[in-house]
């Protein structure tokens, strides 16, 4: 097991390096620069100031010099200094990490706690009214744009019912977390419901389930012991993939609800061409995705020891 974990962790390194290089090349080629983006409406730019900014930030250096500096920084786990705030990027991301993780975890918690039971109940009564209704909900959840859903949730739960604040981080507690987590969690919830239904239906018709029933095992034990456990492998894949990508998908929700996560930092940094911050955010999101995927692989082995990786 230790060898497996070590191998998976080491596999992440070349992936991260490749992503880091890709980001560097992309942001070196796209038009627009931080220096010229500092005055959005105005009397035109002060070119002397722009020139000093470019020199200060090293933007006039040849590409290979900037690339060398970037690699050197990465090698020492230094993500650089933000053009915009003049703070170390690692500090900026650290401040945003907990809000992002808490939002992602809450959204996933919502998705699992609602999506799994929905999918399971639908699979136990295939073709029934309950199954059809639940799947309509699931498909709707997948189809709704997050932005629009967020506005609807604000309108219903904040403006009409007055249960939750419509925006903001507050002290980071559940009171403020509820609406953004629901908005972000609806899509993975729907996907999980559909995946669970499909997985459970598939296993319910498997030979070993039929054998268990024919041996006289009661239905509850069949479902919990055989069906649920086997369905979990497929469901876990979906959970892992969704969990990993939610950090990146949170961009819209974070902006809409004024939630101070990594996603909103990334968007603001892209618009202002704060390249070190953009690079740092993308690396962090990639790392998160890779860690979650590796964790899921490890979890497979724990759930089903027969699984072997080559």
């Amino acid at each position: 097991m230790f060898g497996f974990v070590l191998r998976r962790v080491l596999q992440m390194v070349p992936m991260l390096i490749a992503i880091a290089l890709l980001i560097f090349v992309l942001f070196s080629l796209i038009p627009g620069s931080f220096a010229t983006g500092q005055q959005d409406e105005g009397l035109g730019l002060d070119m002397a100031v722009v020139a000093r900014m470019r020199a200060e930030l090293g933007l006039d250096d040849p590409l290979y010099v900037r690339f060398g500096r970037y690699v050197q920084q990465l090698a020492t786990l230094d993500l650089g200094i933000s053009f915009r705030s003049k703070q170390p990027v690692i500090e900026m991301i650290s401040a945003r990490l907990w809000p992002s993780l808490s939002l992602t975890a809450a959204a996933m918690g919502f998705a699992i706690s609602v999506g799994l039971p929905l999918g399971f109940v639908a699979a136990l009564r295939p073709g029934s009214v309950a199954d059809l209704s639940l799947m309509v909900i699931a498909v709707s959840g997948l189809s709704l744009p997050v932005f629009w859903l967020g506005i609807l949730l604000m309108y219903l739960f904040a403006l009409t019912l007055g249960w939750f604040p419509s925006f903001g981080y507050g002290d980071g507690g559940l009171w403020h977390l509820a609406l953004p987590a629901m908005a972000l969690g609806v899509s993975p919830m729907a996907l999980l419901a559909r995946t669970t239904r499909a997985a459970v239906l598939d296993i319910m018709n498997a030979d070993f389930v039929r054998t268990a029933r024919s041996k006289g095992m009661n239905e509850f034990r069949v479902v919990v012991w055989h069906v649920l456990r086997n369905a979990l492998v497929l469901v876990l894949t979906t959970i892992g993939l969704q969990f990993g990508s939610l950090l990146g998908q949170g961009v819209v929700v974070e902006k809409l609800f004024a939630w101070p996560g990594v996603g909103s930092l990334l968007v603001d940094s892209v618009f202002q061409r704060d390249i070190p911050a953009v690079q740092g955010c993308i690396l962090m999101i990639t790392l998160f995705f890779l860690v979650i995927n590796t964790s899921v692989d490890i979890a497979y082995k724990l759930i089903d020891p027969r699984i072997r990786y080559t």
């Binding site: 038009p31 627009g32 620069s33 220096a35 010229t36 983006g37 500092q38 005055q39 959005d40 409406e41 105005g42 009397l43 035109g44 730019l45 002060d46 070119m47 002397a48 100031v49 722009v50 020139a51 000093r52 900014m53 470019r54 020199a55 200060e56 915009r84 705030s85 003049k86 703070q87 900026m92 401040a95 945003r96 809000p99 932005f147 967020g150 506005i151 604000m154 309108y155 904040a158 403006l159 007055g162 604040p165 419509s166 925006f167 903001g168 981080y169 974070e254 902006k255 809409l256 609800f257 004024a258 939630w259 101070p260 996560g261 909103s264 930092l265 603001d268 618009f271 202002q272 061409r273």
Partner: protein, 497 residues
């Protein structure tokens, strides 16, 4: 009080951030030598009690107020002004406020690294500063900008400066949760007795207009800047429309034509474009009347604006005639660069395209981000682009953007050159007679109307909705979100009370 902020903060250092939105926060925490007096439409002294000019308006002596304290408790002295202005010209860092200080004698030498201190600023005593300029100036128009705020050097030197700003403003910094909110608390030693009224100001960062709308209706925020759609909706609501503040801001929206690109070098073509577009219709339908049809370059709130001047008439027949006279009876094709901005971007361009097609002008659109638009404009890599330009509050400085001596990289983006126009501005810059100066500026603005260097689209009407319990808001035409927070107060009906 809670006032939503529509963008992420560029930087908490007022010298570094030139974005107009950021001024909202800087005015809360910082102060400059002058402040904009919205009631009178002119700059007025803020950190100084007197300013005397000599040597034909090139030397100014400022008597600083002796009751101004930084939030760290230290009294402001003349050295703080000297140090702050020297910092702005630092050769090693690009501070956006440098443009306002560069007119001080010796400032350019510091900027180039040829001198360590600006020779034109002298500290006479602890509370007197003498500033010598390279030309006759009205310093209020330079130093009301928050990018020239007076800062405490001992705080700027600290590593925490970027995250813990200290200033002279009516509120002191409390906390900043990046991406979520900035909070400031009442500063008891603020130099205006009894002010500020508010105990606390909070700026939640809310980029989405629809989210701000819900929060405002839910009474979670006290003010909200309205876009065109909300402007109409709030205007129809009998309660909401009672508490709306409107102001003609000093921004002109226009399609800038590159005069170095044919056929935009021909005034008849530029006039033809102005006649081909039904500007009034676009302002009514797309801008939902949250703008004023532009007549020339100077907007309504700026001295020199001629209220009797009529905008270009919508007259496709005349447009075709002008094109024919210019040798383009079948029209022509050009590339129009635009951002996605709803007020001065792609939606406007898409509305104009069929109007131009009616007179034979074909348009290819090129959609870019605002940051890229600026880059292309500065490099002259465009045929025409649509944008929004600050056109005040100083009319002379604004009109200089079409002076032959002004390079494209400053603000003469069209590349306009006309000796008669230059003469008007040069005379306006040297005369000591205010009435004559105003007359010359009006003539210059009228000259631009005829020369049509751009398609004059609209002047921005900024609109702010506020809750019934909020008082003391002022319609600041330089930027509506730049409120004077010390004068704002909320009555007992506020839910926060």
């Amino acid at each position: 009080m809670t006032a939503p902020y529509a963008s992420a903060f560029g930087n908490l250092d007022p010298h570094m951030s030139g974005r107009s939105q950021d001024g909202q926060v800087h005015m809360t925490l910082h102060r400059s030598l002058y402040i904009w007096d919205s009631a009178k439409g002119e700059p007025r002294l803020e950190l100084a009690t007197a300013a005397k000019s000599s040597a034909g308006g090139t030397v100014w002596t400022f008597t600083l107020r002796q009751d101004a304290f930084f939030h760290n408790g230290r009294k402001m002295v003349a050295d703080d002004v000297v140090w702050s202005f020297n910092r702005l010209m630092s050769p090693n860092q690009g501070f956006v406020g440098a443009r306002w200080v560069r007119l001080i004698k010796g400032a350019v030498d510091v900027e180039k690294g040829d001198a360590k201190e600006i020779s034109g600023i002298k500290q006479i005593d602890d509370h007197t500063v003498e500033i010598t300029f390279t030309q006759k100036v009205e310093p209020g128009f330079l130093f009301y900008n928050m990018t020239t705020s007076i800062l405490p050097k001992e705080e700027v030197a600290k590593p925490t400066w970027a995250t813990n700003p200290v200033g002279l403003g009516p509120f002191k910094f409390k906390e900043h949760i990046p991406g979520s909110r900035l909070v400031a608390e009442r500063f008891d030693k603020f130099y205006k007795p009894g002010l500020p009224y508010l105990d606390r100001v909070e700026f939640p960062i809310m980029a989405e207009a629809s989210a701000r709308d819900i929060a405002f209706r839910n009474k979670e925020v006290d003010t909200s800047i309205l876009g065109p759609v909300q402007y109409v909706a709030y205007g129809k609501d009998p309660e909401l429309k009672k508490h709306i503040l409107e102001v003609a801001e000093v921004f002109t929206r226009a399609m800038t034509m590159n005069h170095e690109v044919k056929p935009f070098d021909d005034v008849r073509v530029r006039q033809a474009i102005n006649h081909a577009i039904n500007t009034k219709l676009i302002v009514e339908r797309l801008a939902r009347n949250k703008a004023y049809v532009a007549t020339s370059w100077l907007p309504i709130s700026v001295p020199g604006y001629d209220k009797d001047m009529k905008p270009y008439s919508y007259d496709p027949a005349l447009s075709k005639k002008l094109l024919a006279e210019a040798g383009l009876p079948n029209g022509f094709e050009f590339e129009w660069t635009t951002s996605q901005n709803e007020s001065w971007g792609l939606p406007i361009v898409e509305a104009v395209i069929p109007m131009l097609a009616q007179v034979g002008i074909k348009v290819k659109t090129k959609v870019v981000e605002v940051a890229v638009l600026t880059d292309l404009a500065l490099k002259g890599e465009f045929q025409a682009y649509i944008g929004s330009s600050q056109t005040g509050p100083d009319p002379l400085q604004t009109l200089r953007c079409f002076h032959s001596a002004t390079p494209r990289t400053s603000c003469n983006v069209t590349g306009y050159k006309n000796a008669a126009y230059d003469k008007l501005l040069d005379e306006a810059g040297t005369t000591d007679d205010p009435a004559r100066k105003l007359g010359l500026l009006k003539q210059a603005n009228a000259h631009l109307y005829t020369a049509a260097p751009v398609w004059f689209f609209n002047y921005n009407k900024a609109v702010m909705a506020y809750q019934p319990w909020v008082h003391g808001l002022i319609g600041n035409p330089t930027e509506l979100v730049h409120q004077y927070p010390e004068f704002i107060w909320v009555d007992a009906s506020s839910p926060a009370k």
